[in-house]
Symmetry: C2
Subunit: 514 residues, 2 copies
């Protein structure tokens, strides 16, 4: 077959190191399917729902630093992927969506699947482009790859009309994109931060799309040297931790706990972090969590060279990195699976190199703290708040890091959104351990209802927050998608089940009855 | 608690006969949950995924003619519901989305869940509005209810900031909406249609959001009297049929079959139908399915008074309605579940008053024709082409018509999109029989790839169309969501399983191995 537009697009992807595509194609993407699968250089993962594909692309890029592609079918296919693209956008993850469109002459006829694809893409995308002719494929794709990997990274949506995909084309042969490096640290900002951290009531807030171990070694030393307090943002796209690093405390999700934790802050130094804001607005509570008279000093913006800025700050302060006090593993838990027991069971089983996609919601309070004592691992948080992210994210992390054990720890409400991810994990034999926290309730709503001043759940409203009628059987759901499932009713059983899952290849699901 | 904005909105819904809400709420919707559940006049159905809620609202309105509400959580919640709202839009179904938004002062702080909700809503909505103060709730909601039920009906998205929901309010006390009746038939159009139908090669194409039995009695008589051919649109939002009515032939989905079926048409008379267009564009094939020199005569637009126009046309032609020849039931099928056997098994089991949400895709060729011989029933087609519609639609139909048996007949690829609908069916004990057509393949892509000129599936591309590794076990998935499941490997077993499902209350799932 002649070299066509789909081939030309694929060539640009390969030239730019895009080696993975998460797909749910349709008729309008068949030329793209042919081109993307013809070359052995691209791994193609079929997903049964588009929200799985977009979340997986997010996870892939969080672990590799490079975008993966998604292949989506027209406007409705993109629409199904939007919620996890929202999460990717808020995490500043680069993702390249390739969305098929009807042949251009067909669009005006308003066929059943015709939709405003650009309009659907815009709210979640940093860049949106519709290809009009094969001659612009190379430049347009390259520009988009550049844009989504520059400054604050983001989502790019490339819309490919079918006639552009099927028309004869010639290869573009442009050089690969070289995303610009973040600007060098600003000496004025370094000086200001160094000064600010010495003030009584100073707080250093660390954030970044990827908080590295080195960043933490630096901030722990800086905090010790200056006497400043230290906190991480409420959610981090990727946090490398464990293996002897102390726990990086987080700004709490819960509004009153967050206000209390920050109330004595006179000066906040922002290292790759934004000034913290409330997750939701509550009556009689502020949106900004720092006190109104708190001074804000930006060491480095989120898209800056955070690690280099911290190196310069440590240097400026004459800080030397000393030994750090490693946290202690909690004892092996027994009995009921409380949030504390969950944390202890996971922390005692987490192996070196693990990746944890954390969507533990109301049962997660003790999870991240307990796991600080585990061997070195990566922790993934949701920065966009749209639930149903962790199963797809875990899939993408496993595709990115096939030799590392991956965990998704997820509330039962959240897991119900994108459970189709289990099938793709099973298909590829990915080493993912899914722990579903089964409390048979949207517990967060029960907690939030009174906080937001809407009364307390009663016999009328409770049915919109409870998941116990009928109870969802997660072992059945897992088996349906080809994943072995087990139920754990005690903390001992949970710990044992995690070890068993790690010992056997392929994905496993554990339903932890909370 | 004081009467607040959420109460004021709920009052408008009740005053306008909105009695059903399909919900997946979050923190920003808690005041709406309290208000919507406080009054016993609104049935609230919790859905585990927003695409279930929006598809259910579509199904509800197709059967009742009245909109249901959805309650969705912020931009990402709406995003998850967009694909089925696309289908509702294409079916001209009135749906009212109520979407929570952050308190207005909070939006500028760009919290995790902040998103461009209006931007997300616009591509699928006929009307979008964001409430700014409690004083405008009654008028804005009433206007939206009017707009989505006037002319070509559609989707309305009402965005409710949390501070508008929680602020003190007074009831609006506006009179209920009275949607305008469609314009009376146009005598000039009646005359033109009557004349056109007498031409050799004339074709009457029938369409409407609801093709009633009366419309079919009229068009069969008109076709007989004039000698014109008769076809229905490729997909109908709701078609009342069976019980002695002859089969209304449909314009085929498959491009070459459609072109062949229409090639001798000299004059097309459009009764509530649009001039047919190809589902997709194909190389060397036209987008418009009627011959270029075919004359198009509009008897009545889709949003018009189709039945009245047909009455007037029959009158103008002096047609009298005679007895119609009832189709014959196919014999009870045996052996392998072929598409023909599927049709025969369902047709022989379909009870009086059944509602069938048809998403049978490539296995459905014989299904609708065979069921023409069944007792009177309603048939639901997808007019938007976004798959994952039939399980939510069936849920909505069951909520609308609790005393009627509802079927969802759905390919395994399509069923994987919104399988969470099973849980809500189980919770409410709805009488839905789900038949999953398990061919373990996106068969339509295998068929379409060569038609669209992208080659044939080979060892590289086939993994993006095949669902056999691992095989999905639909009985496990059903059980996981609390629905009894059974596998049928022969046509006899399928027929028996359908009868058993109908004999027992509550939902059932049958996995038909094709």
């Amino acid at each position: 077959m002649a070299f066509n537009g789909a081939d030309a697009l694929t060539r640009v992807l390969i030239d730019n190191g895009i080696d993975t595509c998460f797909s749910n194609p349709g008729t309008t993407e068949m030329h793209l399917v042919a081109a993307l699968t013809r070359d052995a250089g691209i791994a193609n993962h079929l997903c049964l729902f588009e929200g799985v594909a977009t979340g997986a692309a997010d996870g892939y890029a969080r672990m590799t630093g490079r975008p993966a592609a998604t292949l989506l079918h027209l406007g409705p296919g993109l629409a199904n992927g939007l919620a996890n693209l929202h999460n990717a956008r808020k995490a500043a993850t680069p993702v390249l969506n390739i969305v098929g469109e009807h042949a251009q002459a067909h669009i005006a006829h308003d066929a059943p699947l015709t939709a405003d694809i650009e309009g659907l893409a815009r709210p979640v995308s940093k860049a949106v482009a519709t290809l009009r002719m094969t001659g612009e494929i190379a430049q347009a794709t390259r520009s988009m790859l550049s844009e989504i990997q520059s400054g604050e990274k983001g989502v790019g949506t490339l819309i490919v009309p079918n006639d552009v995909a099927w028309a004869d084309a010639v290869p573009g042969n442009l050089p690969p994109v070289e995303p610009p490096q973040p600007a060098a640290p600003d000496p004025v900002a370094i000086d200001a931060a160094a000064e600010a951290l010495k003030a009584p009531g100073a707080l250093l807030i660390l954030g970044s799309p990827h908080i590295t171990r080195r960043m933490q070694e630096l901030v722990f030393a800086i905090a010790t040297a200056t006497g400043a307090r230290l906190m991480g943002e409420a959610a981090t796209a990727r946090l490398s931790r464990g293996g002897g690093l102390p726990l990086l405390p987080r700004i709490p999700f819960q509004i009153d706990m967050a206000l209390d934790a920050l109330k004595d802050t006179s000066t906040a130094v922002l290292a790759g972090a934004r000034a913290p804001v409330a997750f939701f607005a509550y009556p009689e509570r502020p949106s900004e969590l720092l006190p109104t008279d708190c001074r804000r000093v930006t060491l480095c913006p989120p898209q800056g060279a955070v690690e280099a800025a911290l190196e310069a700050l440590a240097d400026r302060l004459g800080v030397s990195l000393g030994p750090l006090e490693a946290p202690e593993l909690p004892a092996l838990p027994e009995g009921t699976i409380t949030p504390e027991a969950l944390g202890a069971a996971v922390a005692n089983a987490l192996p070196e190199g693990a990746i944890v996609a954390d969507e533990s919601v109301t049962n997660g309070a003790a999870l991240q703290p307990a796991c600080a004592a585990a061997p070195a691992h990566d922790w993934i948080n949701n920065r966009g708040g749209s639930i149903g992210y962790s199963l797809p994210l875990a899939l993408g992390c496993a595709a990115a890091c096939p030799d590392r054990p991956v965990f998704a720890i997820v509330g039962d409400g959240s897991a119900s959104y994108t459970l189709q991810a289990l099938w793709t994990m099973a298909r590829a034999g990915m080493n993912v351990t899914v722990i579903v926290l089964s409390n048979r309730r949207y517990r967060i709503l029960t907690n939030e209802m009174s906080k937001i001043g809407a009364g307390t759940p009663d016999e009328n409203s409770d049915p919109l927050m409870s998941l116990d009628n009928p109870p969802i059987d997660w072992t059945d759901l897992a088996r349906g998608f080809g994943v072995p499932g087990e139920r754990a009713e005690t903390a001992e059983a949970l710990h044992t089940a995690i070890l068993a899952a790690l010992a056997a290849p392929g994905p496993h699901l554990i339903e932890a009855i909370m």
